[in-house]
Subunit: 345 residues, 2 copies
């Protein structure tokens, strides 16, 4: 795990100036005014609020150059609305009954309401960008949504496909996560007076961060438990989503053929999921994934060299490092737990 | 049925200059370029192309004043994309396996693909409006979508509610149909150099046309057969959607109590649906619905007085009359069929 050597400044970790309450209140504000039922749904949705990574990226990116605070807040709101809409629709698509450690919207309000709520969130997001006359942002974000949807449709054909390559996995991660992370940075850049070349560099940082985030997320699906992650362990594999650690394990001469059989027979009982998790550690698939994560972060951070030095840039760098450090710590605890169970059995 | 006395000019019926092929080709064009799977889905979706009422309204409205043809074509494309997106999502919501006389998108490609395709269509529509820098149109259409979604969410609570009033029915019809019809007229008006007062009048015409259209559509759900309508007879009632003819029949002293029991017991077998259809004719519910349709059309046509006289205005008037005439003819054939079956049994 030496690959994961970037360490953030301890002090910076506690110093995010991100105004989460301001953004959440504004989300409530822009979504309200239709009827009581919508308000009830939105309350439920926002009570399970996540890490708000995407709005954070907008804020930090915009803080690099002079900007209009109201515009930046609203653009942070916009990316969170789009993210929420895609989560709500994804949970219907995946028939998930769990999200962020509690019942998903579809499990509480039904699929119908979830689909309509997602559409309502999309429409509200576009309305808000339009209100601020941000044509470039609207163009960027609609392209991103097209990419997300088209990518997800294409990738559904790859479900349970054990022939999937690392390149196809990255293509999948691009549509699923990285393109929206990149958009968030670009939208932040477009919300301030940042020169084009720097905006492009920041967008690439977002892209790298997104890839890294997705790999860590895919690892956590095996390593973390239901309580922490808010969904059952190994659920990606159960849904046919062949992620990077699994791709690496499939290539392994001793584990590969066994794993192929497990996938072909859809034999995803708890014993097999545990066996896969242990194999991922023994075979080095986890290490290989962390190495790639590290490479992405390093590449992303290099892009930030083009940005003006100062506290804002430092904070963006720390954000990338913090995210991964945080996940790394969580993963390490999980790995120790699994290793302890392995040696005691 | 004398209420339905408006008769369009026979010649005008065949003289719509609406360029359906141009609009369809442009829809294909704006949706293409992502990947083969998306193209395959779009081909399927467009092969079942409907009457294109909404793009027609945009064209006719814009033709009243000087306009830029490319803009008008694209705005017609936009409203059809929004309509298609909402149909695709509605079919997932209603679990419909039939649309426009053939398999619905969800029945052929699955719910997942349908939800994502709907999102893709929404994003593409907003991208296209933004491309033309039409801020007012974007604002109008996002409000309309918010209204449609919030309305549908609210109305789901009214499913199987036999206490629903005529007013609540109209509120439901507003969200479901009338607000998008009104938007189409307004978008056409905003795509040309029409003065505000006339744009408002045209929007009201669209609203009235939408209400009338929805009532006729609800009648056809009982009167028409599966082949014509592309969905099973009485399917609204089966889904708990209490429409205007049913509201009228529920109020009838002889049929009301019986119908209440049928609904309470969800006893929607073919015999009962036929019995309801016959009761709607005998009791005069059909006539009452047609009377209201006529009133809406008349009110809508009166609004058009404010528009400059000439061939464009005449065509819009004829469009309203034609639509209803067309449906009326279809309904009359159905009524004769039902009456014949009633007298022979």
């Amino acid at each position: 795990m030496g690959a994961f050597a970037i360490r953030p400044d301890k002090k910076a970790l506690t110093l995010y100036p991100f105004p989460a309450d301001l953004v959440n209140n504004r989300i409530r504000e822009v979504l309200s005014g239709q009827n009581d039922e919508i308000s009830r749904i939105i309350d439920y949705l926002l009570a399970g609020s996540g890490k708000m990574l995407r709005p954070r990226l907008v804020f930090l990116s915009a803080s690099l150059y002079p900007h209009e605070p109201h515009l930046v807040t609203d653009m942070a709101v916009v990316v969170e609305l789009i993210h929420l809409a895609s989560l709500v629709h994804d949970d219907v698509i995946d028939q998930s009954d769990c999200r962020r450690g509690r019942g998903s919207l579809n499990s509480c309000f039904g699929n119908q309401t979830s689909i309509l709520t997602g559409d309502y969130l999309f429409a509200t997001a576009f309305k808000l960008i339009n209100y601020h006359s941000q044509q470039k942002i609207l163009d960027n974000l609609t392209s991103t949504i097209q990419t997300m949807c088209a990518g997800e449709i294409k990738q559904m054909q790859l479900a349970f496909d054990i022939e999937i390559s690392e390149e196809e996995y990255l293509e999948k991660s691009y549509g699923k996560t990285a393109c929206l992370f990149a958009s968030c940075c670009k939208i932040g850049a477009l919300s301030c007076s940042m020169p084009d070349a720097e905006a492009d560099a920041l967008e690439e940082f977002g892209l790298c961060l997104g890839y890294a985030y997705q790999i860590i997320d895919d690892l956590l699906d095996f390593m973390s438990d239901r309580t922490k992650l808010g969904k059952p362990c190994g659920s990606d594999l159960r849904e046919g989503n062949i992620t990077l650690p699994v791709i690496y394990l499939l290539r392994d001469l001793s584990y590969g053929p066994w794993l192929q059989t497990v996938i072909a027979e859809r034999a995803f009982d708890a014993a097999n999921i545990t066996a896969i998790t242990e194999a991922l550690i023994k075979n080095g698939a986890i290490d290989a994934c962390l190495q790639l994560t590290y490479n992405f972060i390093t590449r992303g951070l290099e892009r930030l060299d083009k940005l003006p030095a100062g506290p804002a840039r430092k904070e963006i760098m720390d954000m990338g490092k913090f995210l991964l450090e945080n996940y790394y710590r969580s993963l390490r605890t999980d790995i120790i737990t699994v290793e302890r169970e392995m040696s005691s059995s």
